[in-house]
């Protein structure tokens, strides 16, 4: 997979390049806006990592250019500007994700993989977590190779949770996504979640009390009590 890395800092750029190359990505690294413009047209990257503070121009304008030239190519902004406003303006400009420096390699890789997965679509996508599999295009769910029948709401809940593993999704978010934003749905969420858990078995969906639900890729051994 071809990644265009636009980062002016020598050490950071080189570090990211090597780290991504080690993970099997094909990285093209440029340090100036001018080179970036050239590479966008020349090599047609499948994913762009963009630093906003470039020496020869604001990365935001580059962002706008890419949105016109490379429709649908995911862009992750790497930046030292971390306030909510910065994030929002970055995402408004069309970035798919926003990573504030200093970031952790694992986080960068996770975001890159998530976007790579999304840009390829779910055509052949099977998500698998500890024996629980979900085949997105056919909506087929199996636990330990055994097929599970789910209602539409239950499936929708499971799909959202499995596409965003290790992230706690708030009750409000789930309600809005699964049932649409209607009032007093809190009970419905509990009912559907209860049914879903009974069907797929315990140990997959973890409750964060009063906050929401999460599916952990690595199970957490709770100290009971």
């Amino acid at each position: 997979m071809k990644i265009l890395l636009i980062e002016d800092d020598l050490d950071l750029g080189n570090g990211v390049r090597i780290a991504l190359a080690d993970q099997g990505f094909d990285v093209i690294w440029v340090r100036r806006k001018e080179d970036a413009l050239h590479q966008i047209d020349a090599c047609v990257p499948e994913l762009v990592l963009l630093d906003l503070g470039l020496p020869d121009g604001d990365g935001m304008s580059l962002m706008t250019y890419m949105r016109q030239q490379l429709k649908g190519i995911p862009v992750i902004i790497l930046t030292a500007r971390g306030t909510l406003q910065d994030r929002l303006s970055g995402l408004d400009a069309g970035a798919d994700d926003y990573l504030v420096k200093p970031f952790v390699l694992a986080e960068l890789l996770a975001r890159v993989r998530a976007l790579a997965r999304r840009s390829y679509g779910f055509k052949n996508e099977v998500i698998e977590i500890r024996g629980l599999t979900l085949h997105v295009p056919t909506r087929r769910v199996t636990v330990s190779e055994r097929h599970i029948e789910l209602t539409a709401s239950e499936y929708a809940l499971l799909e959202i949770l499995m596409l965003r593993t290790d992230r706690v999704l708030t009750r409000r978010f789930l309600e809005e996504r699964v049932f649409g934003a209607k009032e007093n749905m809190s009970n419905a969420l509990d009912v559907h979640m209860g049914n879903l858990r009974r069907k797929i078995g315990e140990g997959y969906v973890r409750t964060v009390r009063g906050v929401g639900y999460v599916i952990d890729t690595v199970p957490i051994q709770k100290g009971e009590g």
Binding site: D9, D11, L12, N14, G15, V16, I18, A19, D22, A80, R81, G82, T83, L84, Q85, V100, K101, P102, F103, V104, L105, A106, L108, D166, R167, V168, L169, T170, R171, R172, V208, R209, G210, V211, G212, V214, D216, I220, Q221, K222, G223
Partner: protein, 462 residues
């Protein structure tokens, strides 16, 4: 009693003005009095007039044939003069009458300085006689055989006796003083009222409020002072702002090298096989995380302390806490800590969403960090009549009572605490709470750990 004395001894502006006014008044009065009396002493009205002289001429001429009786009458006349003068019977302090007929002395008041002889008639002259100075004036009768001389003492020190005899001049001043003092005191008090208003505004404002004074007095003198204070405040504001921007810029600039360091070490990790080398790299990564966190916290603190320039808007507190807890749950999961949130309906508070976020993040992160592995962190939102309370409790070691004030200071850390931290978390919490007119208090949780309570005022038009 002691308080009363202290109050009496403390200088006040009102008293200063009063005393100055009284002193000036007394001084002017005294000068005026001195001038009047001095003039009067130099040319006493009794000497300048001619009625007294005429009376003596008539007396001498009509009683020319009866010298005995004349002397008795002149003596009585002299006594009457002296009484009127007010100097007593002492010639050195009082007026004296000398009568000559055909250049021969026919009468002189008892003890009168008979050596005083005017060289010119009709004029007050200063004459030395018997070692003293006198003022004398002599008039001649129409047929020029009788000369009447009136003599008053003219020595400087006599003035005081004279003054003493003219005590009635001072009385009006004494009578006037209460009538002058009370209106003066009252008018000063009234004049000082706008001043007190400004003082009140300055003394009532919070220590971190560097905005210009709102009270703009109409009075020129006060306005100058308020303008000066405002200029000063603006300078302080500017310099703290510069300092804050500098710290924020410095922290910001550190982010990229920290990121570079981190990514390089992490990339290096996959090439290193020996456990010892891995351990050393892990040490670098840990330090890097700490530095990164410190930089982030510094930025947050600088942003939190900046004046709120946007309008405070209603923020759904419950939803915001849920979102932040969801975001922080990986951190909790890493330490196998259970996060729990208790709340009823959505609660709204007035504030700035991003700053409330950093407050919530810091309180919960602290709780997670200091909880023992496998512990539980409870977050609770309670609505009361006058406030909305956010409580975060953990099962950690807590903070000793004597340190509970100091932990809000920047970079202060509980010396017994071995967990690494930036020492800025609670400073951020406090800064944000203050901007939202909220209070932060620390207490012991049910599980013996720390409980942080933040009281948000209930929005008025909720």
């Amino acid at each position: 009693m002691r308080n009363f004395w202290r109050q009496l001894r403390t200088p006040t502006l009102v008293r200063r003005i009063m005393v100055a006014q009284m002193l000036l008044l007394t001084l002017l009065w005294s000068l005026f009095l001195t001038f009047v009396l001095w003039e009067d002493l130099r040319s006493p009205s009794i000497l300048t007039g001619s009625k007294t002289y005429d009376a003596v001429f008539t007396l001498v001429q009509s009683m020319g044939e009866r010298p005995q009786e004349r002397t008795v009458v002149l003596d009585a006349f002299s006594k009457a003069l002296r009484e009127g003068y007010g100097g007593g019977e002492d010639p050195e302090l009082s007026i004296s009458l000398i009568v000559r007929k055909n250049k021969a002395l026919i009468y002189s008041s008892p003890g009168a300085p008979t050596g005083v002889i005017n060289t010119r008639f009709g004029e007050i002259q200063r004459i030395q006689s018997e070692g003293r100075a006198w003022s004398g004036r002599t008039l001649k009768s129409d047929n020029a055989d009788v000369e009447v001389t009136l003599v008053t003492p003219a020595a400087g020190w006599n003035f005081f006796f004279y003054l003493n005899s003219r005590g009635y001049y001072i009385l009006p001043l004494l009578v006037c003083i209460p009538f002058l003092l009370f209106p003066a005191w009252l008018s000063i008090r009234i004049a000082m009222r706008p001043w007190n208003k400004v003082v009140n505004e300055v003394s009532l404002r919070p220590s971190d409020d560097l905005s210009p004074l709102k009270e703009v007095p109409k009075h020129r003198e006060l306005r100058r002072m308020v303008d000066a204070i405002n200029v000063f405040l603006a300078r302080v504001r500017e310099s703290t702002e510069r300092e804050r921007v500098f710290i924020a810029d410095a922290a910001h600039e550190l982010r990229t090298p920290l990121a570079a360091m981190r990514i390089n070490v992490e990339a290096l990790q996959s090439y290193v096989s020996s456990d010892r080398q891995q351990e050393l790299l892990a040490g670098i990564i840990r330090s890097n995380s700490r530095a990164a966190r410190l930089v982030n916290q510094l930025l947050l603190l600088m942003h939190s302390e900046a004046r709120i320039d946007t309008v405070m808007a209603p923020v759904p507190l419950t939803t915001l806490i849920q979102e932040r807890m969801a975001a922080l749950s990986p951190l909790a999961a890493e330490r196998r800590i259970e996060l729990e949130f208790y709340s009823h309906d959505e609660t709204w508070v007035t504030g700035v969403r991003e700053r409330l976020m950093s407050l919530i993040d810091n309180v919960i992160e602290n709780a997670v960090k200091y909880s023992p592995q496998g512990g539980r962190v409870e977050v609770e939102v309670r609505t009361r009549d006058e406030s909305t309370q956010l409580r975060v409790s953990d099962a950690g070691p807590g903070i000793p009572v004597e340190l509970r004030e100091r932990v809000f200071d920047r970079f202060f850390r509980d010396p017994r605490q071995m967990q690494s931290g930036s020492g800025l978390g609670l400073a951020i919490v406090k800064a944000v709470a203050q901007q939202h007119n909220s209070s932060v208090s620390l207490s012991t949780s049910a599980e013996g750990g720390l409980m942080v309570t933040i009281d948000f005022p209930t929005p008025r038009d909720a």
